[in-house]
């Protein structure tokens, strides 16, 4: 599997490198769909310049990245070589460190799971091939950026971020698939599935390419490419979330807590991923979700402590780096109160531009609660399926957050191949594909008509924004329905009968 992934990485890097060099890069980095006030590279450069001058980067109203991020870039620009080596080492460690764990578990499982051999090439061979993959990719990256201007290294950083995300997603989905397969095996052995739903079961053959497809959906998705070429810091946030998912699926509660804290620190919203991660660990450790059990509370508190602890450490670190608490209002206040109404693909800007000022607080509360609110019903409904819950949460965040960009959309779209078995239950996929395709094409057209030609106005653009979000919501709802329906069929049989013997249909109400 390493060879196609290497090829994929090389292709992805080449596309990005070509675009970085072309004149399109400047055009793309000015698009409002691709960069938001939070993650625009222009603003990061401004923050860097202020930092170099010894002024607080938050003293103007331009820069809204977190302190750690700006120090990372500060460091990257100055010591590109070291970061380069470290990140290579980091990626290496990541795959090497986790492989042995994997194999140990596999050894236990392989007694009753012959087909798992498909996933598990002889371990050392795979290790070597991973190593080669990474070295080749990084050399390739470096080769692309031999010509250096001051900020070329940063492009490298963005590329690496995309690469890490894809790798992490790849490995997570691989792990997840193994999990799913194991569970399916157990369920089959214990006769929990009804007899006529054999065709719903997943075979290792069809699951074999899914991790690769996930990586491909992420790396070759035009949205990701645009986001990377625009040097939006969204790619780095995605990388953190992907690593968090990876660590969670690998069962490392500490790393997962730290990364979740990091993701929360970056943009607050990933806070809602706490619930699925917790559910996943509970399930993994066979702790029932029962409020009366002390083991449940013990683990929950343990995980919450790791999470909150690392959040406090990270925030404290930012304070010590920066020497002031300026960043709290400038980053989190900016996310919550939405003062910048530059049009984007989200739902906030138009609404808040139209609204009377004295309703502002009320509506910003309503809009923000909207993002977090779905966690509770979804966690209750999907408590047996935390990974799907993670997907739902990421999608909801990227639809309802205050400054969404296409980079956020790309992250949850990368998961779609993992649910390819739900395809037969999807109802509106044609409609949704058409809507999303048309909207992606219409965004720049209506922007042109509004801003440059002056003949259209903001209503046209907002109409497309609404349609785009409608498409996304429909997509997520459709996958949710399909997932529940498959689970229902697995237990109740594929061909449902009504009481009077006629064929029954399932309706989501």
């Amino acid at each position: 599997m390493a060879a196609p992934l290497t090829l994929l990485l090389i292709v992805a890097v080449t596309i990005r490198a070509v675009l970085f060099r072309s004149s399109l890069a400047e055009l793309i980095s000015a698009r409002v769909e691709v960069v938001s006030p939070l993650n625009a590279w222009k603003r990061v450069v401004e923050g860097l310049a202020l930092l170099d001058l010894g002024v607080s980067p938050y003293s103007g109203d331009v820069f809204h990245e977190t302190p750690l991020m700006i120090y990372l870039f500060h460091f990257t620009v100055d010591y590109a070589e070291i970061v380069f080596i470290v990140s290579a080492y980091f990626v290496d460690c990541l795959s090497c460190f986790l492989k042995p764990l994997d194999r140990a578990k596999m050894a236990i499982n392989s007694n009753y799971l012959k087909s798992d051999l498909l996933f598990n090439f002889p371990g050392c061979c795979e290790l070597i091939s991973w190593f080669i993959t990474i070295i080749v990719c990084l050399c390739f990256c470096k080769f692309h950026f031999l010509c250096t201007c001051k900020y070329t290294d940063v492009r490298l950083c963005h590329q690496i971020a995309d690469g890490i995300t894809a790798l992490a997603l790849y490995l997570s989905i691989q792990t997840y698939n193994k999990d799913v397969f194991r569970k399916q095996k157990y369920a089959l052995e214990s006769d929990r599935y009804s007899a006529d739903c054999l065709e719903l079961l997943r075979s290792p053959k069809e699951m074999f390419y899914i991790p690769l497809k996930v990586a491909m959906f992420y790396l070759l998705n035009p949205f990701t490419i645009l986001s990377c070429v625009a040097k939006s810091t969204c790619g780095l946030n995605n990388a953190i979330i992907a690593l968090f998912i990876f660590c969670t699926l690998k069962g490392s509660a500490l790393l997962s807590g730290i990364l979740l804290a990091l993701a929360t620190y970056q943009s607050i919203y990933p806070l809602t991923l706490f619930a699925p991660a917790l559910l996943f660990f509970l399930q993994r450790l066979y702790i029932p979700v029962n409020l009366r059990r002390s083991s449940f509370w013990f683990f929950t508190l343990q995980y919450a402590f790791m999470y909150v602890g690392s959040l406090v450490v990270i925030t404290g670190l930012s304070f010590f780096l920066l020497g002031s608490w300026d960043f709290i209002p400038s980053v989190y206040g900016f996310i919550f109160s939405v003062p910048d109404l530059t049009p984007n693909i989200g739902l906030f800007w138009y609404f808040f531009a139209e609204m009377f000022e004295h309703f502002r607080l009320f509506f910003s509360c309503v809009f923000q609660i909207n993002v977090f609110f779905y966690t509770i019903p979804l966690s209750i409904k999907l408590k047996e399926h935390p990974v799907f819950l993670i997907f739902m949460q990421i999608a909801i965040i990227s639809i309802f957050k205050s400054y969404p960009t296409v980079g956020d959309v790309a992250l949850y779209m990368a998961f779609l191949p993992a649910w390819s078995h739900l395809y037969r239950f999807l109802r509106n996929i044609f409609l949704v594909s058409c809507v999303l395709l048309a909207c992606s094409a219409l965004f720049p057209v209506l922007w042109h008509l509004w801003i440059y030609a002056g003949s259209a106005n903001s209503n046209f653009y907002y109409a497309i924004t609404l349609l785009f979000n409608f498409g996304q919501i429909l997509l997520v709802a459709d996958y949710f329905y399909a997932y529940l329906r498959r689970e229902h069929h697995l237990t109740h049989g594929l061909y449902l009968k009504k009481k009077d013997g006629t064929e029954a249909t399932l309706v989501l109400k």
Partner: protein
Amino acid sequence: MGLLSDPNRRKALTGLLTRLNTPICIVCYLAGIVWFMGLAFEPFTLRTYMSENAMGSTMVEERFSSGERALSLAKEFDPPSACCGLNGMPVEWLVKAMQSRGLEVFTQSFSRKLPFPDENKERYMVRGTNVYGILRAPRAPRTEALVITAPCSPGNTNNQAVALLLALAQYFRNQIYWAKDIIFLVNEHDLIGTQAWLEGYHHTNITGMEYSPLQGRAGSIQAALSLELSSDVITSLDLVLEGLNGQLPNLDLANLFYAFCQKLGVLCTIQGKLQRNDWDTAEGYTHAAQTMMLMVLKQACGRSWGDHGLFLRYHIEAASVRGINSFRHYKTDATTIGRLLEGMVRKLNNLLERLHQSYFFYLLPSLSRFVSIGYYMPAFGLLAVILLLRALDLWVHLGAPALAAVDGVTEPSSPGVLTVLTPVVISHLTGVALYLLPVHLQEMAVEHFPVSETEAVVLTAIAIYTAGLALPHNTQRLLSGEGTEQGWKVLKLTALLYLAVLLGCTALINFSLGFILAVTLVPITASITPHMPKALYAVVMVLLSPAFTILYCVFIYQELIEAPVSVSEGWMLFLSVISQGILDHALYGSLVYPLLALFIYPCWLMFWNILFWN
């Protein structure tokens, strides 16, 4: 949402749409055409009205009286110094004349080498000078400006317009009510000069023009009027609105012109056609339909039909006023035209913000009637929905395997996707060749064939276009073997959605272009399958291809302006239209040529591929 979530109703709806697909499509197509033709029928259109408050209620009094002086000035300007003769524009005379009228005068020189010689206007290396004078506003901070421009190009006797401009400048100088700077611009080499001046004014360089920077400037330009009086005797005034890429100025500008024509009793036309009052007769309807069709054709070709067209790109509302000598019984003197311009400029002077109240998307069947976007878009929508219905039909028939193609992310291991990807890539490469090669290969072509550069460019374009018909389906067959039934369906589904998105975007930017392309492309693309009689359908497809669409448009246009042409003349016109299209793209950044070459033509080739699938 009941329709989307209730499985039984969904099933019924899908069943209905797939079973009755062909009849629904035919009905939609006919309804689209009928709707469009109905737009010219007067009861279906709206009467124009002035939306802008600042221009409506404040009536102004026109006092300009030096029309005779302007005519004598025109005579002085014309024969000895030969304004538009061989020596180019008499820059010094103009500078002196403007200075003596109390303007701040500046000149700007520019030069531009065309990618290939323009045979219509006989120019290749263009070198010229723009002269402009600024009348500073006495009543307000100088943050806003208006522009009056008169082109003065070789071979085109526009001396009357220049003289009228000077006379107006002299008159305006003595008035105290100006709140906006007024710029009087005399530009050489019509559009190229305007382009150089606008780029200089806004500090941009988007077309690779060489020009000297502007020495003096006024505030941000709010509106512009271009004046062209080509004949000594003016009987009526024609308003030209169509700008670059089919962009139109705010409808209030047309309303303003119409209001003053009514007030001063000047005959006014649009597309050179007078207004008729007998809308309920067949002739009346035909007249309105012809006027609207002319507007659609002119808008669709995406070129700037007067100097005003380039202003629109900079968000400046602009129109051209053109003097015409055709209705013998009426004669309009220079004083009246001067008063008309005075009135328009004074009302524009009253503006508090840019013109934005009225419509930007409209069609005009006559000067007093208009069709807004809400009325004409359904005509296009009815055509576009056919593509979606066919796509839905195919989707239902295909079932599962089409997912990969629709999401745009493809799977390298599956041969099904490769068969689709190959024709798509090859079609687009042909499109890129059609876009790049004609201009780049002209030297080679001139060396080897006895043709001029312009002919070389046009003929290369036609040759590549024709070669594209032979190339893709052969290559595709070599690469991936025999096509399967699934294969062409997936390809057609992709192509249909692609075309729908493409036409939709085009129609939003330039409705006319989108509609014309939809009328010719939709029927054949919706019905094409590999199981049809190949020879017959190949002929039909070629006859409905984009290039033939241009040819038909040329003939229809000539018919509508009452100058019908023979087939050979029409062919020559067609060739010149292509060269003009390529030149417009290179000189002013018109988007029609790249759109056709890079998107529409490859998309059409994909359907061509489907016809020859096996």
